[in-house]
Assembly symmetry: C2
Homo-oligomer: 425 residues x 2
């Protein structure tokens, strides 16, 4: 069984290393040895003498490598949209199975890739594309396909979870926590993809597509950055027995699905509340299976390579059997993705208010005016320190955001200090 590796960065190097150190076990699991016959890199002149492969394997001609007659499996860990898309489409078109960790490409162009796999009679596996080593795609695709998934709540980005954990447990500010994440190598030099939730949004699109058997496009995922989180949010959550987490939320509604990524409060007793540091977890609510959670490292070269290797074994076994396993995306449901305004959720709102009689009544009336009913109201402080914390019952997101807009205009309200959705209750 012959394999072409496209990309030799953190993940690719680790794939090379693991295929060497676990060669015998891999061969036992596949039924024959799997050999790397070429490694496409961008710069050929880099020193790669630490890798346990012959230097002659390296090439800058990725497309030529993909097209080689002796290649059975293509592993793409280069990332980015192009030329990765061309490589993958070419491989699938030639009936070569593809293993990829490229969540950006899958989120942008999943249906086209799935169609190419189907047409080419090839496998397209991408366990490593979300939540790294956590077996998540396979259970969603296979184990739960006798069930009906109604909701997925996930912590799918290690950097933002590290930041939320540090803010909650050590009381650091967002900026301090981000600096620490950068120092420890969790956050990239440019942390935009993580802290502005682009990374999580791509993963949410993939997860929701599999969970609901429908295609969810990246542009249909509602996204709010993490940057806005303040110490007030964290403290306000803690006072009510909740914690702030960077969530990806995908729900099946009566007339469609809703997919969003934003910071949110969850109960401190929720299984996700104890998922700390750079760890990831995905919590699934299925009609029959009930509440499930998958937990593990969500990033890291070795962890991602482990998921890639699992996929390599799977597609290699399928190849040997002359079969493809599953359609890469079973998008037969074709459910509409609802706009954020129609998402059903709850809000936690903290307000600095004027200390005078009737303030609570006016605030409550504003919520009522938009048809939002209140779950709890806590009033505290006196004078300049007077505060209200309101937690609503479930309502449409638009009702809630309209309410907050009107609250900011009340003369009795100095400031809306924190607005955050409440999930998982």
């Amino acid at each position: 069984m012959k394999l072409a590796l496209l990309g030799c960065g953190t993940v690719g190097s680790e794939v090379v290393r693991l295929m060497r150190t676990r060669g015998e076990e891999l061969a036992a699991r596949v039924g024959e040895p799997v050999e790397i016959v070429g490694i496409a890199v961008r710069r050929i002149d880099r020193d790669r003498s630490h890798l346990p492969v012959d230097e002659s394997l390296f090439t800058t001609d990725a497309l030529g490598l993909v097209k080689r007659d002796d290649v059975d499996i293509v592993v793409e860990v280069a990332g980015g949209i192009e030329p990765a898309r061309t490589w993958i489409l070419t491989a699938l078109g030639q009936g070569k199975s593809v293993v990829t960790a490229n969540k950006a490409l899958l989120a942008e162009d999943g249906p086209a890739l799935a169609a190419a796999a189907k047409d080419g009679g090839a496998d397209l596996y991408y366990e490593a594309s979300a939540a790294a080593a956590i077996p998540l795609m396979r259970p969603l695709r296979e184990s739960l396909h006798g069930d009906k998934i109604n909701r997925v709540l996930g912590i799918v980005n290690g950097t933002t979870n590290f930041i939320c954990t540090a803010m909650s447990t050590k009381g650091t500010s967002f900026e301090e926590a981000l600096a620490e994440a950068t120092d420890l190598g969790y956050a990239e030099a440019d942390p935009t993809a993580d802290v502005d939730n682009y990374d999580a949004a791509a993963k949410a699109a993939l997860i929701a597509s599999l969970a609901f058997h429908t295609h969810v496009d990246l542009k249909d995922v509602y996204r709010e950055p993490l940057r806005g989180i303040s110490a007030t949010d964290i403290a306000s959550a803690a006072a009510e027995g909740r914690v702030v987490k960077p969530l990806c939320i995908a729900t099946r509604e009566a007339d469609g699905v809703s997919v969003r990524v934003h910071p949110a409060m969850i109960p401190a007793t929720h299984p996700l509340a104890n998922v700390n540091g750079a760890y990831n977890a995905v919590f699934v609510e299925a009609e029959s299976a009930g509440r499930l959670m998958f937990y593990g490292a969500g990033a890291g070269g070795t962890e991602t390579a482990s998921a890639v290797l699992g996929d390599i074994v799977a597609v290699a076994r399928n190849k040997r059997g002359g079969i493809t396993a599953f359609p890469p995306e079973a998008a037969y449901s074709d459910l509409p993705v609802k706009p954020i305004g129609e998402a059903r959720t709850r809000y936690h709102v903290s307000l600095d208010v004027v200390d005078e009689p009737g303030v609570l009544a006016r605030v409550a009336a504003t919520f009522a005016h938009h048809g939002v009913s209140l779950a709890t109201v806590h009033q505290s402080g006196r004078g300049d320190d007077a505060q209200l914390v309101v937690v609503t019952h479930t309502a449409a997101d638009k009702q809630l955001s309209d309410t907050v807009k009107e609250l900011t205009q009340l003369t009795s309200v100095h400031q809306v200090t924190s607005v955050m959705r409440v999930e998982g209750e």
Copy 2:
């Protein structure tokens, strides 16, 4: 696609119900409808009018049903060793794929069933056999097969976890907690299989076999009952920042594997420590993937039926493609299972001691005499109330048990009040 259902108790009825209510979705996932053509029951005269199937489907001739020419898939949810074994072997021998939840049979006779599946060119799937709806078997069999699993720690029995949780959080005695579990329907009228850990031992054998790619027989699993747990154990654990959990522990050692089920202490910060009530979870340490956890309901008719349905879809798809997916047990490693005496672990020992100088020295010398080094020693109380709590470093189980035996004979020791293994640190 035609299916024979063997057994129509809690799980079987739920399979019938789900196949009816989700018929359309199942057909979409499989690619064609899956129809139940017969249901084998022990007593034909029972009222089953609440089930959405024609009464003519019921039969007491299970073997005849299995052998019918039009049956493609056999689903066995009757349980027990015989006649279930004969039914399954017959089905596999005729090339019919089998889905089963029968952990007792799999633990007792796994290799023979796997061989029959291979010889018959049929699938044998058993996701529901351990941890019900939690996708565990599939990730162990497939997602992680590019990795090397070094350790599995699991809470795999809901009844005993419910009991430990009640004892820890409400301070109830073992007997009270068991009575509550029985009242709530978690424990059977005869709770022996649960509280004496027979159920967990069977699951441990299955999990270890898949995790280490070797056959672990039920008789090779070291088993201690839960019954011995006392309020002293719970309090002693809590005082040291630990909780008592009913664990299944499977470890890869230098020269074999070790598989055991017994109550144990784990750190309160361990992900398994927050798995409470009747929930189950399995924590996996893999060389590359790192620490993973799978969490969910470990029992229940609907939850188990969900796992069965997932397997039905998988084997039906394979059938349609004319293929079998994976060898049911890839036991190519053939590792020896080590006796409990050679298992490497740590002990937490509480002692009532005589309040006189030199007691600690004598106790410490006893540990040293058996080559066991101490991690922490806490001395508390005076007079009749003098107590020592010792936590050891890792040593062979035999060294530890020999130490405890000798401790009970010291004149300075009134009583060894609690001995429990410490895991997950």
